[in-house]
Each structure stands twice: as structure tokens, then as C-alpha cells.
Symmetry: C2
Subunit: 325 residues, 2 copies
């Protein structure tokens, strides 16, 4: 198995990506390849006594501020486009990037193409719940989603939960503003009917307040809603963490400090991106995982491990099989 | 000034509402009237040595599980409908309810009617930021909102921020999935153009991660998005608070306990519903404040104070004036 990693995308620079790649390469069976500015990557690689990593030079980079469509079309020599081409050509089995999410989605749509029968690709993110994780999708690949597309997201999410989260008959729900069937906007009400009549284990609507409680294994929504919910939730968790950290700093009591530091660490361990390894792009012909831009090396490593599990699971063949009927 | 309070709606029963009403009645100039099951309310009132509160009997109640439209149409003798009729007939100046938000919006739409020129009424909620509050609207009164309606929400929110939050030239933003003008769904992109060409102090888009940072004074979105963001955010804050409280309980160190209890209390004081007194219904001919169903007496009291400030501010005349041009 070969996994290509876009070394240039992350907010924290290639140094962090390289460290995560080295850690992953020690664990997975197969090869990890880095694409990016070769001299910079090589420099960071020398810090680690680990010679097995191939580096492919890419002189251009796409950053967080680039417009995805323009950047992907114009920067043919960017690390992302070069990595995507390796995936398209079958040189590698999966791609991992900590870069501009929109650019990854755009590049995948252009180069990999959609799986036959899939209307639009979708980004899914595992969100922490008291008992584990729920899969939330779409979190930003699609806006102005139609009911049929929400249904397809539900199918892909359900297959993912089965094959990769070990859930036999995943409970699927629509994110809505009320539990009753007639609640919500036009598209969600239409999607309710489609899901109710589908082969999925559809449990109805869940509300915002239930999102992090794990009532459903797969929660489906339009990408506009999913993106805003995900980002605002992260922001709240961060503010509170920041607030408590400042208080800890000020406390002169060592016992208080130690206790709080441990409690906070435990709480955020489960909600931290670095633990679940990023967002999963579903519906295209190829495995792509987008790590959070601010990921530490552990997040990069976990994304690579997630990508390798996706490849091994053959989830894309399952999606293809489902939609070919 | 007279303010009517629906005594029956809250999750915590009329006892809590009565306590909040008594506390408010001591502070405001004017009268507070309670509507609900008279014998129950009178019983709770006897706990307080405060004879000034009038009680109007209403044998029916609308609860959280009632369908708003059906309940408002059928339960003519409910505390909410009777209270709303007092407001419509000019017997009182404002209404406060801790009940079913949808029912309050529906009853207000049916009985009070919209302010001339306003397409749809909207629910606004002050959300905590590091420097104070931002006003988020709509949080659930309207779904499938059109661009013109989002523009109107922005106008009403901006007038509210001016008249009631003391902000001279409120910064208005659209909640979106990116900062650039072309980001987001069709309706939001159209609303961007309307706002850009308006007389408002429009600062562009804010993302989910900026929502609680106070970048804008007024943040506008469709009610489907606003409701889900608000409820999921509350849920996260609650989970973390719960988690920390459990850890505090288990700690045997008294200093740690005291420190943590104080820190948590301070943090949640600002984000607590009871401090800002509920959601504000804007765009109808009458002042209605909906307190969170789980509000403590302090929340009820603060909602009554908010309602009294709304009446004094004349915000509805300002809204009418704006849309009459």
C-alpha cells in the first residue's frame, strides 16, 4: 500500500507534517510518499533517522487563502495537484492533506471523478460523543444540497460506519430543528421521506442539542449547516479550554494546577482532531483524507492510518456496488 | 407599563416562573400580570409576601410537545393565547413566556400581525462573546428564508443593537462558510449583495469559528442554521460543564473543589440564558420575549426586565419607521 501526503498544506508548516509522516511510516505496512518543496522536506527529514521516505518535488503550494477552483486549475505544479495526479494514475492508493479543504475537494472532483451513480462527493467528520463517535456529513463539500443528495450522503455515511467504525446496522438521522417528520426546511422534509422509504436504518430527525450525544451513528445535513455547526463547536470548546488554561496559569496552587491540567487534557483528548484523523472525502474514485490545518504531528499520523484503513476496507467498492443497482 | 407573563410554559413549572415574576415586580416600574391555572399560581404566590401581582385564570396549557400551529388554534383558553390576546388588545405592553417557542411565534403571528413592510418575524438571541454579546438571528422562527428576508433580519437586528445594546453603528455580518463574497449558498450570496448595497454597517461574512468571538454585533442567518448552531453550542457547553462538575465531585481536595467551582461559575455566568433573558421576537406588532424553558427564576426575571426595556426603547416604532420608507 502506498499513501501520498501533501507536505505543504498545514497551518503549522511542513515540519509538523514530516514528523507525522515519519511516525506513521513506522506503523503502517506499506510506503508513505511526501510531495512538496523537496529541499525543505529533506531538511526536516534529516532530523529523523528514517530513510524510507520518498520525496517528490513540487515547486508550488496552495495555501489556506487560495480560492480552491482557481488554485487547482492554475497551480499544476502545486504539491496538492501533483499528489492528486499520483492518486489518479494509480501510483498511490490514498492521499492525505492538511491543506485547504476546498482545494482538496475541488482537485478530487476534477481529477478523480465521482463514483458512478454518486451525484456529489461529500466530506464526513467523526464527532465525539459520550460513547465514541458519530459521523457527521456533509461538513462543507456541498451547499444547496438536494434531498436526493442528502439521501446519498446517508448511504455513504452508513457504509462507512459499517466498514470502518465497526457498527453493524448504523442508526442514520437527519439533522433538523425538531424531531417530528414535518419539521425543518423543504429539502430536509423531502429527504425524510426518501430515507424513511430506504433500506437504511433511519431513526428520524436529531436536533442540534442531540448532535454530540450519540443518538445516531450517522448524522446527515447540508454542507452549509454542517460546516457552521462543526466550526462553531470547535470554537466553543477552544474558548472554554483557553479560559480554563488562563485560570490554571494564574493559580498558585500546584495541586489545583495539576488536577485541572489532567482533567482538561482528558476531556479534549476525545474531542481533538488529532485523535480521529481528519475529514473523509466520500463519493470520488480514490481515498482522500483532509486533516485539520492546525493538526499536530499526531493528527497527521492518524490521518495516514485512517487512509490506510479506508484502502484496506474497500469502502469505495461498496459505495460503487450500492449505487450500481 | 404592564407586562403579562405566561406562567405555565416553563420546563420547571409555574413555581419557578412565579418566583421570577415576584423578583422582577420588585424591580420594575409598572405591573406584572400572571396568566395560568389560578389556584396553582395563587398557591405559589402565597410563599412570597408580595400582594401586588394580578392573576388571570387560564384552564388550558400549551406544552413543549404540542404542535405550535394546532395548539394555538385549538387551545383558545391556554395561558399563552389568553396572554397574547391581552397584548393584542393593548391591555398590556409586553409578553414573556418560558414555553414552547414555536407556539409563541405562531400565536404572535396570528394575533399581533406583522409590522407593516416586514415579510416574516424573526427570533434573535444575544450570544456571549469575549467583550459582551452579539445578536444572532434568526434562531428558528423562519426556515427556507429568502435573501430579502435575511436583509430584513439584519435591519431589525441592527436597530435592536442600537436601541437596546447601546451600539452606535452596529457591525452586521452574514453567517457563512467562508469570508469571501462568493462563498456560501445561493440565498446567502444574494443577501450579501443586498446588504453590501444597504445603509447598514455590513462587514461581510463571518464563519462558524468566529461566531462566539464577537467579530460582528449582529450575525444574520436562516433559522434552520441558527437554531442548530445555537442548540449544538449549548449542548457542548453543557457537556463540558457536566464533565468538569463530575470531576470536581470526585476530587477530595477542598482547595481544588473551591477553585474549580468558582472558575466554572464565572465562565458559565456569561453564557447562561438566565443572564441575558431569552430570545426576542422582532417584526410583530407587540413585544414578546421567550425565555429558555429550563430557565431558573433569575432567567424569568431578566426576561421581564428585557421586555420592559424593549417597551421603553420604542424599537418597534423604529422598525416600522424603517420599513415605511
Amino acid at each position: 500500500m502506498k499513501i501520498v501526503v501533501d507536505a505543504m498544506g498545514g497551518d503549522r508548516g511542513p515540519e509538523v507534517v514530516v514528523e507525522g509522516v515519519v511516525d506513521a511510516a513506522k506503523e503502517i505496512e506499506g510506503e508513505v510518499i511526501l510531495v512538496g518543496k523537496k529541499s525543505i522536506i529533506q531538511k526536516h527529514l534529516t532530523r529523523f533517522n528514517f530513510p524510507k521516505i520518498k520525496v517528490i518535488d513540487a515547486p508550488e503550494t496552495i495555501d489556506m487563502n487560495d480560492d480552491p477552483m482557481q488554485a487547482v486549475r492554475r497551480k499544476k505544479n502545486s504539491s496538492l495537484v501533483k499528489a492528486m495526479l499520483l492518486l489518479k494514475e494509480g501510483e498511490v492508493d490514498a492521499l492525505v492533506s492538511a491543506g485547504n479543504t476546498g482545494a482538496v475537494v475541488t482537485a478530487a472532483s476534477i481529477y478523480l471523478k465521482r463514483i458512478q451513480g454518486v451525484h456529489r462527493p461529500t466530506l464526513a467528520v467523526p464527532i465525539p460523543t459520550p460513547l465514541g463517535y458519530s459521523l457527521l456529513l456533509d461538513v462543507g463539500a456541498c451547499v444547496d444540497t438536494r434531498a436526493e443528495e442528502l439521501y446519498q450522503f446517508a448511504v455513504m455515511g452508513s457504509l462507512y460506519a459499517q466498514k470502518l467504525m465497526g457498527i453493524e446496522n448504523p442508526k442514520v438521522a437527519l439533522l433538523n430543528i425538531g424531531e417530528e417528520k414535518m419539521k425543518g426546511n423543504k429539502v430536509v422534509r423531502e429527504a425524510y421521506t426518501l430515507l424513511e422509504n430506504s433500506s437504511l436504518n433511519f431513526i428520524g430527525n436529531v436536533e442540534g442539542r442531540d448532535l454530540f450525544l450519540g443518538k445516531a451513528d450517522v448524522v446527515v445535513c447540508d454542507g452549509f449547516v454542517g460546516n457552521i455547526v462543526l466550526k462553531s463547536s470547535e470554537s466553543i470548546a477552544e474558548s472554554l479550554s483557553q479560559y480554563l488554561k488562563e485560570k490554571i496559569e494564574k493559580s498558585k496552587n500546584q495541586q489545583v494546577k495539576q488536577f485541572l491540567e489532567k482533567v482538561l487534557k482528558d476531556f479534549f483528548k476525545r474531542s481533538d482532531y488529532s485523535n480521529y484523523g481528519g475529514a473523509l472525502l466520500l463519493g470520488v474514485k480514490g481515498y482522500c483524507v483532509v486533516t485539520h490545518g492546525a493538526s499536530p504531528p499526531e493528527g497527521i499520523k492518524n490521518s495516514i492510518l485512517v487512509a490506510s484503513r479506508e484502502v484496506a476496507s474497500g469502502i469505495n467498492e461498496e459505495i460503487e456496488k450500492f449505487f450500481s443497482h
